[in-house]
């Protein structure tokens, strides 16, 4: 095989890793009935691919090749270790006796990743463990990335994952999609986790790029799968919310990678197909009268999406929707967003009063978007000194390069307006 072909095979392994590693892992967990064993097997399978594909060519079905290689290596590894621990040999025999197709006969759902996500989001696990484990295993985020997203330390995050895996194993949490009777109750946790994944992709917690489209696409794919599986309005509401946010992706950053706020975005860049699909889902969910917070947020996003310009936005309707949302799901972040909408409806000062009231309760003081929202209102009110303090606070709390540049730009503009002493 030529150098060139070897290079192509290595590139193929990389591409397959990005596209398929999570699916392969999900299937390996089902076959090996153990998260850690499956992770090890996944690693071994890709190591084997790196060795063999450049020599033998890329197999016709890379995913199937990786699953069977990983499974074989795991069983082989158990056999070798069984010299020291006889129980491992029994385990290896049991796993070997299972045909790889076994356990795949659950009605309706063939997707191992859906099985994986329902297991990772099992309510018997601590919520922070559910989120961490899902992001780690379903989405393949690093512990570091997850820790950043949740403003916590990587070792703490790693601990949560270890604890969650141990409980799945020791308490006998099954690797399955819940029965239809249990499904609606189990859905809330899953929706919560999917939305967190989406946000990680839509507004990456750190690094050079503002967004990581793969993760958002992954969350949307998972959202679609849930909508297909269930007639639950909130699943449709969440999918709508993600689509409506995602529709603005191309308009959110400039060619140079700079952040562009909603008001300043070129609306012709918004993805009309995603908006149409999102708006239709919102209507369907609202009509069901069994909707919740995701549907309400999606309804707000739909008002923005269907408004021809920023100035033509129906702020009264948006404030009204935030009022309902605040009753359904009270949170300081919702209050902050409502305050910004009130600023647009009733005047900047009214919005500023509401934001300051949130800070006065000691809430959102570490949330950079709260400080940048306050800074923006102060700037537009001509309160330059207050604006500067808030921009600086926001800057100190932001890890994301494009957001940092945006805040630094605003701060420079502001300083050029300030009288020199």
């Amino acid at each position: 095989m030529s150098e060139d072909a070897a290079e192509r095979a290595r590139a193929a392994v990389d591409a397959v890793y990005r596209a398929e590693s999570r699916r392969v892992l999900a299937t390996l967990i089902r076959l090996l009935r153990d998260f850690d064993l499956a992770e090890e097997a996944l690693h071994d399978a890709f190591t084997a691919a790196l060795e063999q594909w450049p020599l033998e060519g890329v197999p016709a079905n890379p995913r199937a090749w990786l699953v069977s290689t990983g499974r074989f290596k795991a069983i082989d590894g158990l056999r070798r270790r069984s010299r020291f621990d006889a129980s491992l040999d029994q385990l290896a025999q049991r796993l070997d006796a299972d045909a790889p197709e076994s356990g795949g006969g659950d009605p309706g759902v063939e997707d191992d990743r859906l099985r994986l996500i329902f297991t990772c989001c099992h309510p018997a696990l601590a919520l922070d463990g559910q989120v961490a484990l899902t992001l780690r295993t379903v989405c393949g985020l690093t512990t570091e990335e997850i820790a950043h997203a949740f403003l916590t330390q990587p070792p703490t995050l790693a601990q949560r994952i270890v604890r969650a895996k141990a409980k799945i194993r020791d308490a006998g949490i099954p690797y399955e999609v819940p029965t239809r009777a249990d499904l609606p109750g189990r859905l809330d946790g899953v929706l919560h986790v999917i939305y967190l994944v989406f946000n990680e992709g839509y507004s990456a917690s750190s690094g050079a790029s503002l967004t990581r489209p793969d993760l958002s696409a992954e969350a949307i794919r998972l959202g679609r799968l849930l909508v297909e599986l269930l007639s639950e309005p909130e699943a449709a509401g969440l999918l709508a919310l993600m689509l409506l946010h995602d529709s603005r992706r191309a308009a959110r950053t400039s060619a140079a990678g700079e952040l562009i706020l909603l008001d300043d975005q070129d609306r012709s860049l918004w993805n009309r197909n995603q908006i149409a699909e999102g708006a239709a889902l919102v209507e369907r969910a609202l009509a069901s009268r069994r909707f919740g917070p995701y549907t309400l947020q999606a309804a707000i996003a739909a008002v923005h999406a269907e408004s021809p310009s920023a100035s033509a936005t129906d702020w009264a309707q948006i404030v009204g929707l935030y009022d309902v949302l605040l009753r359904a799901d009270p949170s300081p972040v919702v209050e902050l967003n409502r305050a910004v909408a009130v600023a647009m409806r009733d005047g900047l000062a009214a919005g500023l009063t509401l934001i300051d009231a949130i800070f006065a309760r000691g809430e959102l003081t570490d949330y950079h978007l709260a400080h940048s929202a306050r800074a923006d209102l102060c700037r537009r009110l001509g309160k330059t000194r207050d604006a500067r303090i808030s921009y600086e606070r926001a800057l100190a709390l932001t890890r994301q390069a494009p957001e940092r540049r945006f805040l630094e730009r605003r701060l420079r503009e502001l300083l050029s307006l300030m009288p020199r002493r």
Partner: protein
């Protein structure tokens, strides 16, 4: 897998039931026990007398110490248990959710630690 379902009730709440309510509650327990015997989940189970009958036994400095109690500072007290055989945690949760006290108190579902028998 085997799971122990620990039944925590508020003794005050249960004690406050009228005789008729109390009989109905007991009837539910008998029906539940029959049902999990039929379904094959049942391994064992008992109700306990109220927590004021409890005695704490410890050995300290080689001497047996016996005291009244222990009385935890919680509203709910251990009032009984079922030992069940279940396919997995989801199956055990299904069973636990049908224990009549799940409506009044809390059922704690704990997997049994299985030790390998020495050969």
């Amino acid at each position: 897998m085997r799971y122990l379902c620990l039944i925590y009730d508020e003794e005050q709440k249960v004690g406050a039931l009228s005789q008729k309510e109390s009989e109905a509650f007991m009837g539910e327990y008998f029906a539940f026990t029959d049902a999990i015997k039929k379904s094959g989940h049942y391994v064992g189970g008992e109700a306990l007398q109220p927590v004021n009958t409890a005695t704490a036994v410890r050995i300290r400095n080689g001497k047996v110490s016996t005291t009244d109690g222990p009385f935890a500072e919680t509203k709910e007290q251990l009032g009984g248990y079922y030992l069940i055989n279940a396919r997995d945690l989801n199956d055990a949760i299904q069973v636990a959710s049908k224990i009549p006290s799940a409506r009044l108190g809390t059922i704690e579902v704990r997997p049994i630690q299985e030790f390998e028998q020495p050969q």
